[in-house]
């Protein structure tokens, strides 16, 4: 009884009746008894509760007997009293000598329909034109006799007959549970007072020394805790953030869901005819209709200043920065797409400013990464950045894909960084997530070269899974930003949803994110220990 405090006796009262005490009293005089005979009037559930209470204290032992008891329906009782329908028909016909069929209803009432058929079948009566005449002088009403027997014994031997009567709704069966009760090893005439909790009073009085403590019921659930819970996806997200912080990464500001084509695509050397820019893949914004050309974002800049203050100090760059030259960057991007520049032959197509100023819901956080790397170009030095935030794709939605998801992105800028360095780092990074032995597959991505899909062996799932994308940013993306040629930038990305679904064994992404998610699921899942699988 959760909530019960202090030394209390454990009675089971039903009004004035104490069933447990009655059972104990009866056992005092009888070694064993059947509850159905001793307590025919007490409901079975009350008896059961009382027996369980006593049995848990080893004061009684009992066994359960299930049996079936037959009883008559009101129609069945009428037959016992007045005879069966067919008997009533025969009786009426017999008494009249000859009875017109149309008069039968008024003679025997409701029994007419069933009774006539059965009486004919039994060859008790026969037809004579439109009238009925008796075929025999005396009959034995077997139905009445059988039902009489049911009334007397609550049973019927012939199972076929039993089924027939049940079908005709003359009898019903009820399940009867009765218990054979005998004394248990700790039998006593009264239930001893049991204590469920230790109180200050008991300690003060010394009563605890002699108190009879109630044993725990290990089979029952404990009391529900009034606990709050964090969403599992955000728990995994926090793990990722901590891993990045521990590895010396700086968080990038990403509070820009609405982004320009310029930052989302052109700055990343994604040509304007690239399929990713199709209406089928990207959400375009119709209101606001068009963006301004890129310009300073003092808020985001100030946040970066705070976060990078320490790093800048380390690299000895505390001098105030020149304002960024967005116009020059814009022209660099035009050149590298349209005519080729920075050692590249370019895509050689007419580049449209209008396409750059279309607004989209960002399809990746790499749009924000470009902005951060443009900032880095003012003062190039080794740097590591990350972000985890929502991105949007106008794709067909299925069990593992939604129109929005959380992207994890990591970026490492380092003079003369090699492909091997990046791969070696990823091996280490994924080991923090419990995934080792990476394999890299050549892939295509417009803004990285080399580009690699990352496959990892998942120890928990015991199979190879694709766990991310990575690559070295193309010079066509980096050099227009103003970064020096030898500062190479390695980037990698993955979703938060996939590792979370694996971690919490969720098959359908709609059971993880969105308003259809069960609160029970959120409240009951385990803490994140990614290395524990």
């Amino acid at each position: 009884m959760p909530g019960t405090r202090g030394p209390v006796p454990v009675p089971l009262q039903d009004g004035t009746r104490d069933v447990t005490q009655q059972i104990l009293d009866r056992l005092d005089s009888k070694a064993s008894f059947l509850t159905s005979t001793e307590f025919p009037d007490i409901p079975q559930n009350e008896i059961k509760a009382a027996l369980d209470r006593l049995a848990s204290r080893a004061m009684v032992q009992y066994t359960t007997q299930d049996s079936e008891r037959l009883s008559l329906t009101p129609e069945g009782s009428t037959i016992v009293n007045e005879g069966s329908h067919e008997y009533k028909v025969w009786d009426a016909v017999h008494k009249a000598g000859k009875l017109e069929m149309k008069d039968l209803l008024s003679a025997v009432g409701d029994s007419a329909k069933v009774g006539q058929g059965n009486a004919m079948k039994n060859k008790w009566i026969k037809k004579d034109g439109s009238a009925l005449v008796p075929a025999v002088d005396s009959v034995e009403d077997a139905t009445r006799i059988q039902l009489q027997q049911v009334q007397d014994t609550q049973a019927l031997k012939d199972p076929k007959l039993q089924a027939d009567y049940k079908k005709r709704k003359l009898i019903v069966a009820t399940k009867v549970i009765t218990y054979t009760v005998e004394k248990g090893p700790k039998y006593a005439k009264e239930i001893p007072v049991e204590v469920t909790d230790l109180t200050a009073d008991m300690l003060a009085s010394g009563e605890w020394k002699t108190a009879n403590f109630k044993p725990y019921n290990f089979k029952s659930l404990g009391a529900t805790q009034n606990a709050g819970a964090l969403h599992p996806l955000n728990k995994v997200r926090k793990e990722f953030r901590d891993i990045f912080f521990n590895l010396g990464f700086i968080e990038m500001p990403t509070s820009r869901y609405v982004e320009t084509g310029f930052w989302n695509f052109d700055s990343l050397y994604v040509p304007q005819q690239h399929p990713a820019r199709d209406l089928q893949d990207t959400f375009y914004i119709s209101d606001p209709a068009v963006a301004d050309k890129p310009r300073a974002d003092p808020e985001a800049e100030a946040q970066m200043d705070i976060m990078e203050a320490g790093i800048n100090k380390l690299h000895g760059t505390t001098k105030p920065k020149e304002p960024r030259d967005y116009e020059a960057y814009w022209e660099n991007i035009r050149k590298v797409h349209e005519n080729g520049a920075f050692g590249s032959i370019g895509y050689r197509y007419p580049w449209s400013e209008k396409e750059c100023l279309r607004l989209v819901l960002r399809t990746h956080t790499t749009a924000n990464t470009s902005w951060v790397l443009h900032r880095l170009a003012q003062d190039p030095r080794p740097a590591k950045y990350f972000s985890i935030d929502r991105v949007f794709r106008n794709e067909t939605v299925d069990a593992t894909h939604l129109a929005e998801f959380h992207q994890v992105e990591g970026v490492i800028a380092e003079p003369n960084l090699t492909l091997g360095d990046g791969m070696g780092f990823l091996e280490y990074f994924y080991a923090q997530l419990g995934i080792g032995n990476l394999r890299f597959k050549p892939a295509y991505n417009p803004y990285t070269e080399p580009s690699m899909e990352i496959f990892g062996y998942h120890i928990g799932l015991k199979k190879w899974i694709e766990i991310g994308n990575s690559g070295v940013f193309r010079p066509e993306m980096l050099e227009p930003l103003g970064l020096p040629k030898d500062l190479r930038v390695f980037g990698f990305g993955l979703s938060v949803e996939r590792p979370t679904m694996i971690k919490y064994k969720v098959d359908n992404i709609r059971d993880l994110v969105g308003h259809k998610v069960s609160l029970d699921f959120i409240e009951s899942n385990a803490a994140v220990r990614l290395d524990k699988n």
Binding site: L230, F249, E251, S286, A291, R295, I311, I345, E404, Y444
Partner: protein, 642 residues
């Protein structure tokens, strides 16, 4: 990524080797393509018709669906994949494509009329002479055109390909643009003559072709190609004529690509002719066509000239991180179909790379470097890096501060959970109805961005508040034991003319609870570091009148004179399912929602709980910092400022 379906047995025959599926998958993995699916023709048809999966016959041809990189147009058909893998496996030399050496006089001519400039200004052409098709190569030829149309041609908007049986035609050809009513011909797969405008009407019911009609539909003139006898070759980018259709018996194929993007037209033409020149009598030889514009300028296509790129050896090895000799590099590049030769000048070694017409994806030396890495084996590079230790600047003796807003939102989330609330994560995308009407709000067009191309009503806008997601979550969890105490912290999107993108996403907190959460507001304010209400220097509550809340049971939260949040009993009209919840459960009497708007998150640092870490180093720490910096490979780069 495009997917190419190829017959397995035909592919293995072309590769000159048979693989188990596992072996083939491994080859694909190393080369950078992917065996996406293994199926059969009949299984594909069954799937299209949604028939039950039946036992496939043993003799059904197995089809490999292979995913190829989106910029490798040369891999869009069996011939291209097979050749790339043969070269990769040292089974074939890199083919050398050449333009047939014929005099300008005997060259086939294509005259371009000036009117084409208004609709589809470019055309490039070539001839494949003495070709021999079999059923497989013929189908592959058609499929390749389809794949190119879908991919680089951007569904025929940029480039459209027409292929013709040259022996049915009489050159020279003309590329013109005429009013639709002046164009008459029997189109492919039809028997009757159509006028161009009637044909466009006719194709409106054609599932495959109706998608392309918009490209020229509204133009007063349609592009059309004629031969000397005014026989129509094609009405690009819609359809070819039946007259010049190619068949299995065709020996000489005339190829024309009309375009709005000349660079891509050349790539498409090169891809078609180089891939199928292997079936020509003179392998790898393509007959040129002269294209003459009305201003007298003339060009000869295809342009098969290789593009030369000089890449320094140290760039390649430095970028990959594995020491390689020049000879190894040239060998590796040969496996990727790139001719490469070493040239030494002074101390530095340079690799001269000839980029063949099939490799339009090579734009920059970094593309060459990637091919060296792929041929060497990505996983070999990784193994070497892991063994010797990767070289990335590791820890720093400076504190790394998290993004303030992120850290603030995290702290709020923890505090909310400590108050016994459960966090939910709802969608940013929602319908306009859920965002406004459901909350009793009118959309006056001044707060929400509008998405131009939503696939469903669920994606019409980005939320401007968290409340609809919170309430919908409650609606979906009616069976959950009461009280329901949930919250969400996240970004919303609001129109904002001061931003270059015209919108901003501030950070909101919203929660829902079936008991009064007035106390929760106080608690959150307390952990943020604000003293309790009734002090006009911090925050206080005042009556408000928001349509989503019941009148008289709601309050604005005001901080330093500015409204930063609201709370109130949700109006019964707000969500019908909420009302039924109220009726269903006798225990539930009131519900409160509160949201805190961004200004709260932006409180000055003196009251914000975001970590305040003092900057600066003392002289006592300098030696240690120097040591740490040196350990991290920063010798010479660092300067200390007092």
């Amino acid at each position: 990524m495009p997917t190419v379906s190829v017959g397995r047995d035909r592919l293995f025959a072309a590769l000159g080797e048979t693989y188990t599926q596992e072996e083939f998958e491994d080859l694909c993995f190393r080369f950078g393509i992917e065996l996406d699916d293994v199926t059969t023709e009949k299984a594909i048809i069954r799937k299209e018709k949604h028939l039950e999966e039946e036992e496939g016959d043993e003799d059904e041809e197995v089809i490999y669906k292979i995913e190829v990189p989106a910029n490798r147009y040369d891999l869009l058909c069996l011939e291209g994949i097979a050749q790339a893998l043969r070269v990769f496996n040292w089974k074939q030399e890199i083919p050398a494509y050449k333009v047939a050496n014929i005099s300008r006089e005997s060259m086939i001519k294509m005259h371009v009329k000036p009117e084409t400039s208004s609709i589809r200004p470019y055309v490039v052409c070539a001839v494949l002479r003495g070709i021999t098709f079999d059923e497989g190569s013929y189908n592959s030829f058609i499929d390749l055109q389809d794949k190119l149309h879908q991919n680089i041609c951007r569904r025929r908007t940029l480039v459209a390909i027409g292929t013709h049986d040259l022996d049915t035609l009489h050159c020279p050809f003309t590329y013109e643009a005429l009013p639709p009513s002046n164009i008459n011909f029997v189109p492919l797969k039809q028997v009757k003559n159509f006028r161009a405008d009637e044909l466009m009407e006719f194709y409106k019911s054609d599932l495959k072709l109706k998608k392309f009609l918009h490209i020229i539909e509204n133009s007063p003139v349609y592009p059309v190609i004629y031969d000397r006898d005014r026989t129509v070759l094609s009405l690009p980018p819609i359809i070819n004529s039946a007259h010049s259709a190619i068949t299995l018996k065709t020996k000489n194929v005339f190829i024309e690509c009309t375009a709005t993007d000349l660079t891509k037209a050349k790539i498409v033409l090169n891809t078609v002719v180089t891939t199928f020149s292997e079936y020509c009598e003179r392998k790898c030889e393509i007959e040129p066509v002269e294209v003459i514009y009305s201003d007298g300028k003339s060009y000869t296509y295809p342009e098969l000239s290789v593009y030369n790129m000089e890449v320094s050896l140290s760039y390649i090895t430095g970028a990959i991180g594995v020491p390689l000799e020049a000879e190894e590099v040239t060998n590796l590049l040969n496996r990727m179909q790139l001719h490469a030769q070493q040239s030494v000048s002074g101390d530095s070694s340079t690799i001269n790379v000839s980029v063949p017409p099939t490799r339009s994806d090579v734009l920059h030396p970094c593309d060459v470097m990637e091919d060296v890495a792929i041929a060497y084996g990505y996983n070999n590079i990784k193994d070497i890096a892991v063994a010797k230790g990767y070289n990335i600047s590791k820890g720093r003796a400076v504190s790394l501060k998290p993004l303030r807003l992120e850290e603030f939102s995290h702290l709020i989330r923890l505090e909310m959970a400590m108050c016994g609330f459960t966090e939910v994560l709802s969608f940013i995308l929602c319908s306009l109805g859920d965002n406004f009407a459901m909350l009793n709000h009118e959309d006056d067009g001044s707060t929400a961005v509008i998405i131009e191309n939503p696939r469903s009503s669920e994606n019409e806008t980005a939320r401007t508040s968290l409340m609809s997601g919170i309430l919908k979550t409650v609606g979906q969890n009616k069976a959950h034991p009461k009280p329901i105490k949930i919250f969400e912290v996240g970004d919303v999107v609001l129109l904002d003319e001061t931003k270059d993108v015209g919108a901003t996403n501030p950070f909101y907190l919203s929660s829902y609870d079936l008991q009064i959460i007035h106390g929760l507001v106080e608690r959150i304010m307390q952990v943020i570091g604000l003293v309790p209400p009734d002090d006009s220097t911090t925050y206080y509550l005042k009556p408000s009148n928001e349509p989503e809340f019941l009148r008289g049971t709601q309050a604005s939260i005001v901080y330093k004179g500015k409204q930063i949040g609201t709370s109130g009993i949700v109006h019964p009209e707000v969500l019908p399912s909420m009302v039924s919840l109220l009726v269903d459960s006798s225990k539930v009497s009131i519900e409160w929602v509160s949201s805190l708007t961004p200004e709260l998150a932006m409180v000055p640092s003196d009251v914000s709980p975001v970590f305040v870490v003092r900057q600066g180093t003392s002289s006592a720490l300098l030696p240690m910092l120097t040591h740490l910096a040196t350990l991290n490979g920063y010798e010479g780069h660092h300067h200390w400022h007092p």
